[in-house]
């Protein structure tokens, strides 16, 4: 028994990028749709992949970067599948939203700097007002609003999501040895 982890997902994604490029005939006119499909694989556009796309399409990396930053729907930073927004506006703050933030950070092993989990499942964003002060403290996960939260209920919520994800994905992508 060893704790080695083999993550095949990077390999799958890269193979997919090669296929995408091939499907678009390595034609730089298709840069936007290519980046779109690449982003679907990675959930953001990693720098090295953009460089790879540039050299495969015979255009400069600066051009790819320009296009990737121009369109709002391209993300340059990794974002989790679930974006957890915790409000730290005045109303939520006085009702101890900070404790919720700290609990999430501890639970998901995140810091102020590193706000996305390694498996790209969760991103924690701290926002200044969600316009729901009457419901303070508020937590929003993707589109869903959870009012009057506390650390315990938030952790429970996260755990439910994790359980749901594990059940659905099985161990296709991850093999523990």
């Amino acid at each position: 028994m060893s704790n080695t982890q083999v993550d095949k997902s990077a390999m799958r994604k890269f193979q997919k990028v090669c296929d995408i490029l091939q499907n678009y005939d390595y034609d730089s006119k298709n840069l936007v749709p290519i980046l779109q499909e690449v982003q679907e694989e990675y959930r953001y556009l990693p720098e090295d992949i953009m460089t790879f796309v540039a050299s495969s399409l015979d255009i400069s990396p600066a051009k790819v970067y320009g296009v990737a930053t121009f369109y709002a729907h391209f993300a340059l930073e990794p974002k989790g599948k679930y974006i957890i927004k915790v409000c730290d506006g005045t109303a939520c703050h006085v009702r101890h939203s900070l404790r919720i933030i700290e609990a999430i950070q501890e639970h998901l092993d995140l810091t102020e700097k590193r706000n996305t989990t390694n498996d790209l499942m969760f991103t924690l964003e701290i926002v200044s007002c969600l316009g729901a002060c009457g419901l303070a403290p508020v937590v929003v996960v993707n589109e869903d609003v959870y009012p009057v939260m506390n650390p315990e209920s938030t952790i429970k919520l996260i755990d439910t999501i994790i359980a749901k994800e594990n059940g659905k994905e099985g161990d296709n992508d991850k093999v523990a040895i």
Partner: protein, 667 residues
């Protein structure tokens, strides 16, 4: 001939006039512009060139086609207002510390603001505090001064075909940046500086070494020698109000002496030396079936371009160092004895028309024991600044002689500074070697001119010599591609990165009009005629240098000092991508997917390797990476397995290697 009316006067125009702006300028009305350059495509973004056209209202002249009978007004109250407003907005939105900006006096923004009589800015000044990029030895970018005209972006793309900088982000956040907002030194930029030449403000400027040079000059222990490139002598006058193309080597020598340099030498001397070596190399390649065609190697931006984009063709580059490189090497090895000084007290400064030379001087091949052969590289612009700092009235100086022996040159060494010049200088020697008799006609008018790509066939003895002369890297790419794909065959190709050759370098006094280049080129050809000798092989001090110091032309010592080698170079500093991560792996495999390997099918190899690993259930034992360039491109596809790099790989031989190595480690 058609006519239209500009401010009440009839103006004629022809189909050659690309746009209304040029027609208006022909009528002697200098419409202000930021984003218009006759050499670049029309962008139409700055809106300074607005004019009123009867029946059509306001239009940007640069994007309007001239049509017969148009009635155009350039100077209405409304237009004056709009222009002033535009300039005030720019002055308010960006940082403009004119008094301390190195672009000052050559800055279009400053100039236009003055011309339009902008005396106050009615808007509140915005804050902008973006970091300055000084990663490169060639250039400094200050995004706080950028007015987003896009001139630099188009220069890099349209003249050099590189696209190292581009617009990124959008709206109020729009910036011009290198890829991933990295520093210029970490991307595909070749340091030519053409972006800085066209930039109307001080947002991209050559990086200055003036202070360091003053420090050396102030140190009594040091002997500071200086040499300057051919192109400097026909452009420096522009900084002092003289016409472009005025030939001023003697005045430069005088100014340098007054500034305090101990010895005044001429890079044209080592240009003569370069010709001796390069023409000999060319004839050798032709007679011994060497790698053809031979490319010139004196332009560092071109060399870097080849290293980044065509590594498999590096053997085509002449192995000769540039005249600057040769000067440094010879100076550092010959001068200490000759001048009777301690080698560590010798400082070599050079004045170049070029920003890329600043980077060339830093290449490790051109340093000895960590010290660069050329300690400091100043541009013509920096030299002009030093003259001004010294209070010298340059325009009133009388010419003074150079110091010998390195101050003596022939005309061949002087025409090096313009497109076609290196070719012509080389022909003046190579043709003599091949034909075995002195040349009757020295001037090779066929190779002269300003066309971006010029092809010439010359009959030399029994040989039909095929040559090409190219300037601008976009043109060079076309020629290299033609050669690679077998459409063209040449013996010798001269490439200079800057338009017009070194005389159009980004270190020269800033110019926006192509006619300036033509004048500088004329200046160099007339300088050629004014000299006693026109052929490098006749330079008596070159002959002496070989006799007393270097030995044989192309011989062993000459090779050691005057020749060099080239490397494959990554275009962008980027680590590889991890494809199959595996912490406890036994073997790591990395497949190069850089452009060169990619062209040779490395993506396919990578895919098959991954399939193989999966099908053999090896995922637990190996780790796979994709690399952007293993700097082994001429021998690609490249794959590394364990600690070994394999060249020219095929899927089958890698698989054998992987199995063999795995067996060894798992045992």
């Amino acid at each position: 001939m058609n006519t239209l009316t500009v401010d009440g006067k009839l103006v004629t125009f022809s189909n050659d006039d690309r746009n209304l702006l040029e027609v208006i300028r022909k009528a002697n009305i200098e419409l202000p512009t930021f984003c218009y350059h006759s050499e670049l495509s029309v962008y139409g973004a700055c809106r300074l060139c607005l004019v009123e056209i009867e029946g059509r209202g306001l239009n940007t002249a640069c994007t309007t086609k001239p049509e017969p009978n148009l009635v155009v007004r350039t100077n209405t109250a409304q237009l004056r207002d709009i222009r002033k407003f535009t300039i005030e907005l720019l002055l308010a939105s960006y940082e403009h510390d004119c008094t301390t900006c190195s672009k000052s006096t050559a800055c279009k923004l400053q100039d236009i603001a003055k011309r339009l009589g902008v005396t106050k800015v009615r808007f509140k000044r915005g804050q902008s505090n973006l970091p300055i990029d000084d990663s490169s030895w060639a250039l400094v970018r200050d995004p706080n001064k950028c007015i987003l005209c896009g001139d630099c972006v188009r220069a890099c793309e349209e003249i050099q075909g590189i696209g190292a900088i581009d617009f990124a982000w959008r709206g109020a956040n729009t910036h011009v940046v290198p890829a991933f907002n990295k520093g210029l030194a970490h991307v595909d930029c070749v340091d030519c500086g053409q972006c800085s030449r066209v930039c109307p403000t001080g947002a991209i400027v050559p990086r200055s070494q003036i202070d360091a040079v003053w420090k050396e000059l102030d140190n009594p222990e040091k002997t500071v020698v200086v040499h300057f490139a051919p192109a400097v002598r026909v452009a420096i006058g522009e900084a002092f109000g003289m016409p472009a193309g005025t030939v001023l080597p003697g005045q430069i020598a005088s100014a340098l002496r007054t500034i305090g340099f101990d010895k005044i030498y001429d890079t044209s001397f080592t240009a003569d030396l370069t010709i001796m070596e390069e023409a000999t190399e060319l004839v050798g390649r032709i007679q011994n079936g060497g790698v053809m065609p031979m490319f010139t190697s004196c332009c560092p931006a071109w060399v870097k371009y080849m290293e980044q984009y065509y590594p498999e063709m590096l053997p085509n580059l002449s192995t000769c160092k540039s005249p600057m490189g040769m000067f440094g090497a010879v100076a550092k090895s010959y001068l200490p004895d000759f001048l009777n000084i301690d080698p560590k007290n010798l400082v070599v400064v050079t004045i170049m028309p070029c920003t890329a030379k600043k980077v060339e001087a830093k290449r490790p091949e051109f340093t000895t024991d960590g010290m660069p052969d050329n300690d400091y590289v100043l541009t013509t612009q920096e030299f002009a600044t030093m003259i001004k700092q010294s209070g010298i009235r340059f325009q009133d100086l009388s010419p003074e002689p150079f110091d010998l022996p390195f101050g003596y040159k022939t005309g061949a060494g002087v025409i090096f500074g313009n497109t076609g010049g290196v070719m012509e200088a080389a022909l003046r020697y190579a043709v003599e070697i091949v034909e075995g008799k002195p040349l009757s006609n020295l001037e090779f008018n066929e190779v002269r001119g300003e066309e971006g790509i010029r092809e010439i066939n010359l009959t030399v003895g029994e040989l039909e010599l095929k040559i090409a002369v190219v300037h601008g890297l976009k043109n060079a790419k076309k020629v290299v591609q033609d050669i690679k794909e077998g459409r063209k065959i040449y013996h010798f190709v001269e490439v200079m990165t800057c338009p017009g050759g070194c005389i159009g370098g980004a270190g020269q006094p800033v110019y926006f009009d192509k006619a300036i280049r033509t004048e500088r080129i004329k200046g160099l050809y007339s300088a050629d005629k004014m000299l006693q000798m026109q052929k490098s092989q006749e330079n008596p001090y070159i002959q002496e240098l070989y006799k007393n110091f270097l030995g044989e032309v192309g011989g062993e010592k000459a090779h050691k000092l005057l020749h060099t080698h080239y490397y494959n170079r990554k275009r962008i500093s980027e680590e590889g991508m991890s494809i199959l991560e595996n912490v406890g792996n036994k073997l790591s495999i990395s497949v190069c997917v850089g452009t060169n390997c990619f062209m040779k099918g490395s993506q396919e190899i990578l895919k098959r390797v991954l399939n193989f690993i999966e099908s053999k259930n090896l995922t637990d034992f190996v780790e796979v990476k994709a690399n952007f360039c293993m700097e082994n491109c001429d021998k690609g596809p490249s794959v590394s397995i364990g600690n070994k790099v394999y060249s020219n790989v095929s899927f089958d031989n890698i698989v054998k290697e992987i199995e063999a190595q795995l067996e060894a480690v798992t045992k």
